[in-house]
């Protein structure tokens, strides 16, 4: 009996396949005739033909054609499930708001196809394949995690699809030797951010003994390593270089160990859950009373301050200066609260917003629009337009791309938590 039902299923599948194939056989002549019909109507209306002739794709790697009335399609590939999802969802909201605020580009609305990259390499690969197999997608905002970004950039770049990451920070992605030509990012390269904190601690705070902690994630490990190397290079001493599980619930042993090494500052560029746990616990450990605390943009969020309470007071956080002094961010926050019912849960919504605006502006500048509203977007032209972005005012600062695809404002602010808010105390320019 069971075998029969499986057989039924198989037959059905076959039947479907046959229907599909048969359909293709039938439709080919049909489309031909449709085309000729269109041609004839074109000849009848010479104005249209002229418009159609204007729109010829002479792009080196091809064009995306958007038919009249169709939306321009862009994709996002962020981590929107699993333990890291608050990171990716937050960025996705940033993308959505940017699209909403942009409205239409030359009469075409913008549609977002949201994919999940799962914060791992295979997730990035699968999402990349899905995006790459859809020729109507113009560009992609993603990935959240550097590990997913490496395989995905290889796949989407093979198709010439522009890719802008709001939160990949691993140096390897924009390393001239290994960077994919379509890859850009609005997040700060670890090399810049880690170094900024090291310089601030050594030169400005005048501290010479530091400890660094990471959680085994490429982002945090990268930052901690860069900080360590830069700090030693400046002449400081790293008294402890430790790691803790990202989902740890008991960090007292870790901090007791660090306390025994006698640092003047602890640098832990981790994400909010572990970050606030370390912050709260550090205030309660003997021997860490006067020790300064520092973290990176992974915790630069009101959520972090809420979760850490008073313990966060006075700690240093590196990252983009979100209080940049323009009102874009205030409007943005209002929309965010209204649309999603919550305050931002991670810092990268700002980078995602800027990344999306960068992409949309580039599309706007290269799109050719025919008289009937058909839009042609040259892929190479788009990449060139993105990489020549400069001086764009965004939430995270002035966005300018360098030749390796690093587009973040090179200025990094070190903020201090004062009265429950981040206020910039120093700014770093490489």
């Amino acid at each position: 009996m069971k075998r029969i039902s499986w057989f039924t299923l198989l037959m059905l599948l076959l039947a479907l396949a046959l229907v599909a194939c048969g359909g293709s056989g039938d439709t080919e002549p049909e489309t031909d005739s449709a085309d000729t019909a269109a041609d004839s109507s074109d000849t009848a209306d010479s104005g249209d033909e002229a418009a159609a002739e204007e729109l010829t794709c002479d792009d080196a790697i091809g064009c995306v054609e958007v038919a009249p009335g169709d939306p321009i399609r862009i994709a996002s590939a962020l981590v929107i499930t699993g333990p890291n999802e608050s990171l990716g969802l937050d960025s996705q909201y940033g993308v959505e708001i940017a699209i909403e605020q942009r409205g239409e580009i030359a009469g075409h609305s913008v549609e977002l196809q949201a994919e999940d990259e799962g914060c791992n390499a295979e997730g990035g690969q699968t999402a990349g394949q899905k995006i790459a197999s859809d020729p109507s997608i113009v560009g992609v905002i993603g990935t959240s995690c550097s590990g997913a970004g490496v395989p995905m950039s290889q796949i989407v770049c093979a198709e010439g699809i522009a890719m802008i990451s709001p939160s990949n920070t691993a140096p390897v992605l924009t390393d001239p030797g290994s960077r994919q030509s379509c890859y850009f990012r609005t997040a700060h390269n670890d090399k810049v951010q880690g170094r900024a904190m090291a310089e601030y601690v050594f030169n400005e705070l005048g501290l010479t003994k530091a400890a660094a902690v990471h959680d085994g994630d490429p982002y945090t490990e990268g930052l901690a390593s860069v900080f360590r190397d830069a700090f030693i290079e400046l002449g400081g001493e790293i008294v402890a270089f430790e790691a803790e599980a990202a989902d740890a619930t008991n960090v007292e042993p870790l901090l007791t160990s660090i306390a025994a090494a006698g640092p003047e500052l602890i640098y832990y560029p981790v994400f909010i859950p572990l970050g606030s746990l370390i912050t709260k616990t550090a205030r309660e450990i003997d021997g860490l009373e006067g020790v300064a605390l520092a973290a990176a943009d992974g915790v630069q969020s009101p959520d972090f301050v809420d979760a850490s309470g008073d313990a966060a007071e006075g700690m240093y956080v590196s990252g983009p200066d979100l209080g940049f002094g323009n009102d874009i961010y205030a409007t943005f926050l209002e929309t965010y609260q209204a649309n999603y019912g919550t305050e931002p849960t991670a810092p990268f919504h700002a980078h995602a917003y800027d990344a999306t605006n960068m992409l949309l502006s580039a599309i706007e500048s290269v799109a050719q629009v025919g008289a009937d509203g058909t839009m042609l977007i040259g892929r190479q032209a788009l990449l060139d337009a993105i990489s020549s972005t400069s001086g764009m005012e965004g939430i995270t600062g002035t966005i300018s791309c360098d030749e390796n695809g690093d587009c973040a404002d090179p200025k990094i602010a070190v903020s201090q938590v004062q009265d429950g808010a981040f206020s910039a105390v120093w700014s770093y320019e490489p």
Binding site: K2, I4, W6, T8, L12, A17, A20, C21, G23, S24, T27, E30, T31, A34, D35, A67, D70, P71, I80, T81, G82, E85, L89, E111, A114, E115, D116, C119, N120, A121, E122, Q125, T126, A127, Q129, K130, A132, S133, D134, P135, C145, G147, V150, P151, Q154, A170, V172, S178, H214, G216, D217, P218, T220, E221, F241, A243, A245, Y340, G341, T342
Partner: protein
Amino acid sequence: MNEELRGTIKTGLIAGVVTLSLGMIGILVAFNKRFIVTDAVTLADLLLFGMAVIAGYLGASSLKEHSMGRRLLHGGLAGMLAAVPTFLLILLTLVWEGIRDSFINVEPALVSLLTLDNENVVVGGILLIVVFGVLGLVGVGYAQLPVRFRRPISMSLAWTIGSGVMSDILIGILRPRMSNDTLRSLFGSTGLQPVPFVVLFVLLTAVFFWWQQGGQTRYQTLRQNFTPRQQKSSRRVSISLLVIFLLILPSLLGVYLSEIFNEIGRFVLMGLGLNIAIGLAGLLDLGYVTNFAVGAYIMALLTSSSQFGPENPWSFWLAVPICVVAAMFTGFILALPVLKMRGDYLAIATLGFGEIIRVLARSDALKPVIGGAQGILQIPAAQIGGFMAQVMGYILNPINNLLSRFELGILATNSNGDIVFGNPPQLYYLFILASLLMLFISRRLNNSRTGRRWMAIREDEDVAAAMGINTTNAKVLAFTLSAASGGLAGAIFAAKLGSIFPSSFELLISINVLALIIVGGLGSIPGVIVGAFALVGIPQLLSEFAEFRLLLYGIALIGMMLVRPEGLWPSEVHRREIHSHGEDETAVPVSVKP
């Protein structure tokens, strides 16, 4: 209040709570963007109003011998009750301004969806109750239909809705074979266009109806009347058709679906391996990711051209056997300490191994060797070059030339004449090759002396030992062989990704593999394949709803086990076991002790 009324109220309220949950956890709003029938019916409509129909259906079908009037009454009541909790929620939003601070998904969009876009929320809510009541009546009507109509209709409805949900996948398959205009007349930006939807529904209903009313029996008698010779040749024909189908599949599916097939292939490989340990030998291994990780890391270490690789990187084909052997060795070593443990002790110990590997992979301690958090990059794709590729090219190129007329193709050589397993359609052949190999080995093991030894141990270890089976050796062998397939999967995985990071080796992988072999049918080889399709393939296709994927996955696991505990394609032995499991099964006496 009589018994039946109480039953109906209960049914209605349960449906109501489910409806309420759908709204409050955000499914409705998220699915409202997704059309099934373009610009007419969204997935959210379907879910919301479907609940009313189901409530009516259940409410009516619980009373068998009553008049139509009473049935309609009960169905309508159940339908209306299904809207009551939602109505209460609507009222709640009026008095509790800050409800969204607590329940994040109770947003204006939800309220307007639930009130059928009415300005006045209360009126809208009452309207919802009325609509639900009417739909409850529809449910009753559906329950009244004779089974021979109901079944084809439900099946074709499911298929049609399925095609609506999967519209973007279908578009992906059809795009190279159809003109844009045809596609546009069939599909909207999401969902099927109304006319094709209705046509497909009617067509499918007719087909199912025909099949049920006589097609099936006719087909069966036809097959039964085959002479042995005919049977043999029909078998041969179907096998060769299957082989051809498998060979041209990736070109039929396109890049993205091939990628999904490859993901399925990866899990089939792991499932086949774990099936040896759990399905055959009964050893509950929750740390199967260990073998996978070892295979992947060894492949990376041997072939990567980064600083972690050797000075002269190996070729993929040379490295694969090493990976398999390394995984087997790991399986062997890890088997030793856990041999004496049974049941759940074994489970937690193996789970521990999986966690140890995960932590070690990202640790600073091993960073100099295996890259720590930053992983290992620059792993080349597998490729065949030189003479071998030339020979294969002589065979493959003409076939490809022929097939390309039909927009089809098979394994192809690149412009240099090499065969590179880089993109998903090419990698597919690697996975097929590996899966067939492991399938063959598994089949042989299943029917071998060793296989029977394992099954004896699975049934009763003490008795097996008493029968003279060396249980120690048999178990060590089971672990070792089971690891081989995981190592192979890992090796191909590394070459497929081109870079590996510790985040690919999580506990979730072990859980997924375990779930798929149980959902497929424990100990059954076809079951592994079916399970992988169900638990790896379908969730991938649903990645639109990524946020709710794991929720649906959880529901599917529970539902599956409740409806078919023996799995989708159970092995004979296992099915017998499940169905003979009566009340005579005595509990294993372990007490809650002081």
